[in-house]
């Protein structure tokens, strides 16, 4: 072999070694505060395994006609509605119908409460029955749900002011709901006349993540479990199409997803925006800080969290009254949505934002403009802010 060949081989091998050893040629791990997925800190090895099982079931399991999808449905997987564990897109909007007051849903026999807007080939999807009021719900982000679940009922009662005793015009109250038999009451749960405090869903009509998960399989994907065994298409009780273990894995995954991490906390404008948020009383409903109580998962217990919600119902005025409701909420009442993760919404909604319960608001400013009822005063104060302060407030919200 000549010198020229040796030189050539050396150069080729050298370039290969240099290339392989160059980490810049490989994608880096996204900053923890730039993504919503990932487990909460402090899980044990066993819990990490359960988290991974749930992650796969949530994000990778696709339902088809052969493994339980439908025959009527909205989405084919959990991940279809919650890309990257973030807020959903109008593509998977959930339409609820049939209840216009606190007396219950009068259209359960006609497919209520959720419209299965899609169907397997050869099957017709549902339509909203004549006379039924309805509302569209954008799927929420999943993150931090376990921490929200671990907030004691007593904390929510403490935040509520049903009769507006302090006269500030804000009177949050819990949604007292009946819970399914399979729900295990949480430690310290408070019961009133056989009803419990709901805390998940747009109307706070869901008690815990077990009910949320079993319902989502059943109502969103048409997949029956032993928890929700009635088929949404024909109303008949059928064999489970998913194992209890799979449901439990997904519940564990949802419980242990980390809370969104705020970005730019030390930015002067963000700090100023946070102060403005407090000054115009946004925080009276979007409660900045809470404390979790006891939990069977140590990583969730007794933590200080910053969800910017009080998990209570508030009258949001006529603009947001769709005439549909759930549990004991009135049609104009909505649960305060957590604001944590708000700034990452566009990363799961296709580069845009679709805010409020039905995604009607295409910006934070527009979302505020739809506020009414108990939020009227804060909205007015927001609209009176000068452009600079408004920008700082929005910058703060986008840092969450």
């Amino acid at each position: 072999m000549g010198k020229r060949q040796i030189l050539l081989i050396t150069m080729l091998l050298g370039s290969v070694v240099v290339t392989v050893s160059c980490n810049k040629l490989l994608p880096g791990i996204p900053a923890d505060d730039s993504v919503l997925d990932g487990p909460i800190e402090g899980l044990t090895g066993e819990q990490n395994q359960a988290f991974l099982r749930g992650d796969i079931a949530f994000n990778d399991d696709i339902f088809t006609s052969s493994n339980g999808l439908g025959p009527t449905f909205v989405a084919t997987s959990c991940g279809s509605c919650h890309a990257g564990d973030g807020k959903g897109h109008p593509f998977t909007t959930l339409t609820r119908f049939g209840q216009s007051d606190t007396l219950g849903n009068k259209f359960l026999h006609l497919g209520g409460p959720q419209l299965q807007s899609r169907a397997l080939p050869g099957i017709l999807p549902e339509t909203i029955p004549a006379g039924a009021t309805f509302s569209n719900f954008t799927p929420p982000a999943n993150t931090g749900l376990g921490l929200l679940e671990a907030v004691p009922d007593a904390t929510l009662i403490g935040l509520s002011d049903e009769l507006d005793a302090d006269g500030d015009g804000i009177s949050g109250r819990p949604n007292w709901i009946h819970i399914p038999n399979y729900c295990l009451s949480r430690p310290g749960t408070i019961e009133r006349s056989g009803r419990y405090i709901g805390r998940f869903g747009k109307k706070a009509a869901v008690y815990d993540l077990q009910q949320q998960t079993a319902n989502a399989y059943n109502q969103d994907m048409g997949v029956n479990s032993s928890y929700e065994s009635y088929n949404t298409y024909n109303g008949l009780q059928i064999d489970p199409e998913i194992s209890n273990q799979k449901v439990l894995d997904v519940i564990f995954y949802l419980k242990t997803l980390k809370a969104p991490i705020q970005r730019d906390q030390n930015n002067a404008d963000v700090i100023a925006g946070k102060q403005i948020f407090t000054n115009i009383s946004c925080g009276k409903c979007h409660t900045p800080q809470m404390q979790t109580g006891p939990s069977t998962i140590a990583a969730l217990a007794n933590k200080t969290i910053f969800p910017y919600t009080d998990l209570l119902l508030h009258d949001m005025g006529p603009s947001l009254n769709d005439g549909y409701t759930e549990g004991t909420a009135m049609p104009a009442e909505w649960r305060t949505p957590p604001l944590w993760g708000l700034g990452l919404s566009k990363n799961s909604q296709g580069g845009k934002v679709f805010l409020l319960h039905d995604g009607r608001a295409k910006s934070i400013e527009e979302a505020v403009s739809f506020h009414g009822g108990e939020a009227s005063q804060s909205k007015t104060k927001f609209q009176q802010l000068n452009a600079s302060d408004k920008a700082k407030l929005i910058q703060f919200l986008e840092s969450l």
Binding site: V16, L25, H89, A119, G351, K352
Partner: protein
Amino acid sequence: MKNLAILFLLPLSICKGFAQIDPVLLRKPVTDTSRMLLNMDAVYNRPLLAAGKLPVSLGGYVEANYQYLNENGISEGHQFQMRRLTLFVASSISKRLKFLSEIEFEDGTKEINIEFASIDFELAPLLNFRGGVVMNPIGSFNQNHDGPKWEFVDRPISATQMLPATWSNVGFGIYGKKYSKDWVYGYELYLTNGFDESIISNGQNKTYLPAAKENPDRFEESFNGVPLLTAKFALRNNRIGEIGVSYMGGVYNKFQDDGLILDKKRNVNVYAIDFNTTLSKTKTFINGEWAWVSVDVPNTYTEQFGRAQQGGFLDIVQPVYSRSLFGFEKSVINAAIRLEYVDWNKGKFISTGDNIADHIYSVVPAISWRPTPQTVFRFNYRYNWQTDLLGNPPSRLAGFQFGFSTYF
């Protein structure tokens, strides 16, 4: 007893017979696999080993590789992969009657497929009959997929993740080819079993033609009783290159069963164009394929499954060092690059009017060394940008692959 003894001794005698064959009697045609004839010839443009006057020829290829890939900063670590072991058995039954089969073991024994097993009967140069398990001639890669012919460890994304390469079915058809000075043209036309409903109901959560390959019954019965038509016309000028246009289409759903109507007939149609050329001045080899897929998906089904798809690849291979190396006289070192794109869901969301994304871009620079035309060692760097249905920030996958592929 005598018969038993013969039965027992016969295999031994055959073994002994093979052991005594003088290696010079083994014919191994030298084929330059870096240059191609018409893509439709690829199935026979392979080195096959014939022993003496035995009517059967044997061959095959093997490919294995190492890879280290990283997706969004997370790596599965160092992976060693046995991608394929493929065996060919061919036989000239008579002067104008041939048989060839290709059996492939993928990822060890995870997938075992008969990719080709057909009888070819020449009636005239422009009229040949082919029947059995045939490779549907859609695009070029499906027919011309042998690992040693390519400078890249991975097969093209559009060919395997949008089109279903390697896509073979039971059926019959005709083909022919004609030469005229610098020109050659050929055609193929087959009727085979086809797709099924899994193309819009699968674990990929997208319209995915390769899902039909999972149906174990497709070599035994048609899913809906309607043949899949595949046709291709290719034209080559020896100075310019080859261009092929192809079509594949048919009904994919079970529209009736046991005499009862279940749904309307729903079609899948695939159109493809492929080309390849070698620039005479620089010996640069350029090879590409682009395909369009349309699927009649029910309006009441989910937009998750695309009604239209498109994608393709472009390979550019530049020999940079062609001379003896380590004693291999026809050794060639190539620099190459592959550009790829697939859009699995062309269309707009009904709810927002925005474009549906669900696409991937990929670039794969490569260095390959061919000590002989039939063997290739290849080093690839891959970078993919894959965007989900909604158009969220892309998932980034990158990494290194080193492997070999060789005929034997």
